[in-house]
């Protein structure tokens, strides 16, 4: 496999060399993502989305070499892998990290060593504002974006009183801050839950006792599954709003009917009507036999962005390669996509509803909440 990739690359280089163009050596990409432990479903989707794009690109991706490693959702392991990839695998580009705390451990040192980092998911505010870097691109969003969209949606719907809830860790606090930034109603109660909590009896009791019209919550992974099931059993019927993380395709099947009808905000939806997205969703189902999640979609876009930059510039010419990336000259599955001055996306945010599509739970597009929305930190970035 590796030998044939090399050979193909060599033949390509020869052919192109003969045509008189300066063509690159293979571009090495290191994918660090979570493939074991409780958060593995997010990493598996990230990896699969990335690999699908390369596969669909065919010959155009023949001079791209990929190394994938499992970070076990542990910052120290992620740092070790990054060091190994940079020093002994000699990668040019790193990508794939799902969690913000891992990204904060890896990204600053990787870009300081002159490597490009393309984020398929995690995009902490520290790297969007003053800590921005020409070699760091968030292809996903800025962490606050989806929560901002949820705040805007709640305002548009005329929800006057809301109960908001997130886990007690940095991304959870960013989440509630982002929500409040665009919500103009009254927050009746703000609750921080224990990170990784699986029993929500006391939170649900507080929701029951509050006079809120609706509930906004950010509980990714297993936390969200637990909350949704217990909420459904509790008999409380205040409508729920969440960011797409709480209802992404990787956990929806486990939530079951409890999730039907819940509204959530996203930068992508499986039924977004554009050519790139159709090719992606159909390709993903054919290749892996399941529906793709938000994480897979963002990874797919990341790989296509990378391919577009490789076609336009040589990775060894860092400035040219950076400009090629910043041009974002690829067909995004999200449709409308460009980079802002801090190399974070300017894109549309949509609202989706969980539906039962012939026995499969999935998200259906309801409408657009924000158009060409950037993030709150871009102005602080001096690049």
């Amino acid at each position: 496999m590796k030998l044939s990739t090399f050979l193909k690359g060599g033949v390509m280089a020869l052919a192109i060399g003969a045509a008189g163009m300066a063509q690159a050596e293979p571009v090495k990409v290191g994918v660090i993502t979570t493939l074991s432990g409780g958060g593995a479903s997010l990493g598996v989707d990230s990896r699969d989305g990335f690999m699908l794009a390369l596969k669909q690109a065919g010959d155009a991706a023949s001079d791209v070499e990929v190394v994938v490693e499992d970070d076990q959702q542990k910052p120290d392991v992620a740092v070790q892998i990054a060091d190994k990839m940079i020093q002994s695998d000699k990668v040019d580009v790193l990508t794939g990290i799902v969690w913000s705390n891992l990204a904060m451990a890896v990204v600053p040192s990787a870009v300081a060593q002159g490597k490009f980092y393309l984020s398929t998911n995690a995009a902490p505010s520290q790297l969007a504002g003053a800590g921005c870097n020409p070699k760091y691109f968030a292809v996903s969003y800025q962490n606050d974006n989806l929560h901002e969209a949820a705040g805007a949606y709640a305002s548009q719907e005329g929800i006057g009183k809301i109960f908001i809830m997130a886990p007690n860790y940095p991304a959870g606090k960013d989440s509630l801050t982002g929500f409040k930034r665009f919500y103009d109603g009254d927050v009746v109660k703000e609750v921080y839950t224990q990170l990784g909590a699986t029993d929500y009896a006391s939170e649900i009791a507080q929701i029951r006792d509050s006079d809120a019209d609706a509930v906004f919550f950010f509980l990714p992974g297993g936390m969200g599954i637990s909350f949704m099931k217990q909420y459904a059993e509790s008999g409380v019927d205040k409508p729920l709003i969440g960011p797409a993380f709480s209802f992404s395709q990787d956990i929806l099947p486990a939530m079951g009917e409890a999730a039907i009808g819940v509204k959530n905000t996203s930068d992508w939806s499986p039924d977004l009507d554009n050519e790139a997205n159709k090719k992606f969703v159909e390709g993903f189902e054919a290749e892996y036999g399941r529906l793709p999640s938000l994480y897979a979609a963002q990874s797919y876009d990341t790989a296509n962005l990378l391919l577009s930059a490789i076609a336009a510039a040589d990775v060894s010419d860092a400035d040219a390669f950076q400009q090629a990336l910043a041009a974002a000259d690829f067909d995004s599955v999200r449709g409308n996509f460009k980079f802002g001055p801090n190399q974070h996306p300017i894109q549309d945010f949509v609202i989706r509803e969980v539906v039962d599509d012939n026995g499969v739970l999935t998200n259906k597009l309801v409408g657009t909440v924000m158009t060409d929305h950037a993030d709150a930190y871009a102005a602080e970035c001096k690049m």
């Binding site: 007690n168 297993g222 637990s226 099931k229 008999g235 486990a254």
Partner: protein, 289 residues
């Protein structure tokens, strides 16, 4: 009550056999997966529950015969190491079989929804059922240990292993049975908890820590201690989460009060454990060392 189910098995194994079993959380996970798998395959939740008991008891017996049996005479550190290895083996093994994506476990009609309790409070049916199951297990274990022949042997084995072996009791088989019983309790708790939470790889570890706290507070080797300890820990945790934010805000917390209260609330059970240990180093109902 789900804490009690978990802790009861742990205390049985730890107190009676003198064995630290970190893989107890894995048995919890195995029970949940067995229940989810069988329930999905047959469409019957009850069959799933039965499967969770059988599978986790079976796996428990296998572990006892294959691994643990060699460790009784060894140092605690060896037991910790071996059972920690078992956690890794079971976690990745489960992932290998079922994949990384969480499984779905649907409650039967009969148990879903909420009922109105006297006093007008809505309460989920399934939580009531868990309380009933927990009470049944508590009474069952109490009868088993205190009133049956097997219980007498278990207690005798706890007191003096060599003597009861000399009296002709097959101590090896007895330990296998006790361990399988502890495993079955963990698996059953996993299946029940999995029904209202998520069934995924790694779900057992957070519960394991809580169960250890319960066992330490209740006193090692005491079923009654496990019951009281579980109630104490559960109440402290829930009341802390519910009441502390208000308290902190009243004390002039400002904007950080919520996050601060959440942090303190998650420390409460450990503070409780520390207080109990200071007053009674052997735990609430532990035998004097």
């Amino acid at each position: 009550m789900m804490l009690f189910l978990m802790a009861a098995g742990l205390t049985l194994v730890f107190g009676v056999m003198g064995l630290i079993n970190l893989a107890h959380g894995s048995l919890f996970m195995i029970g949940a997966f067995a229940c989810a798998f069988v329930a999905a395959a047959t469409g019957h939740y009850w069959l799933g529950l039965a499967a969770s008991l059988l599978v986790s008891a079976g796996v428990g017996a296998l572990i006892e015969v294959g691994v643990i049996r060699k460790l009784y005479a060894r140092d605690y550190l060896d037991q910790v190491l071996a059972t920690f290895a078992l956690i890794l083996v079971f976690s990745e093994g489960t992932r290998w079989v079922f994949g990384s994506f969480p499984l779905y476990l649907n409650l039967p009609e009969l148990l879903s929804g909420a009922v109105t309790l006297p006093g007008g409070l809505q309460y989920p049916v399934f939580r009531l059922v868990i309380i009933l199951f927990g009470a049944a297990v508590a009474i069952g274990l109490w009868l088993l240990i205190g009133r049956t022949r097997l219980g007498i042997r278990i207690r005798a084995g706890e007191a003096d292993r060599e003597m009861i072996a000399a009296l002709g009791v097959d101590i090896a088989r007895l330990y296998t049975i006790v361990f399988a019983l502890g495993a079955a309790l963990a698996g059953f708790a996993g299946a029940l908890v999995g029904s209202i939470q998520s069934v995924q790889v790694g779900m057992g570890e957070p519960v394991l820590i809580l169960a250890f706290v319960v066992v330490v507070i209740g006193g090692i080797g005491s079923i009654k201690g496990a019951l009281i300890g579980a109630l104490l820990v559960g109440m402290t945790d829930t009341l802390g989460k519910a009441l502390l934010p208000g308290l902190f805000a009243a004390l002039g917390g400002g904007s950080g009060a919520n996050a601060m209260a959440a942090t303190v609330a998650s420390m409460l059970i450990y503070i409780l454990m520390a207080v109990v240990l200071v007053i009674r180093p052997q735990g609430l109902f532990g035998a004097k060392a």
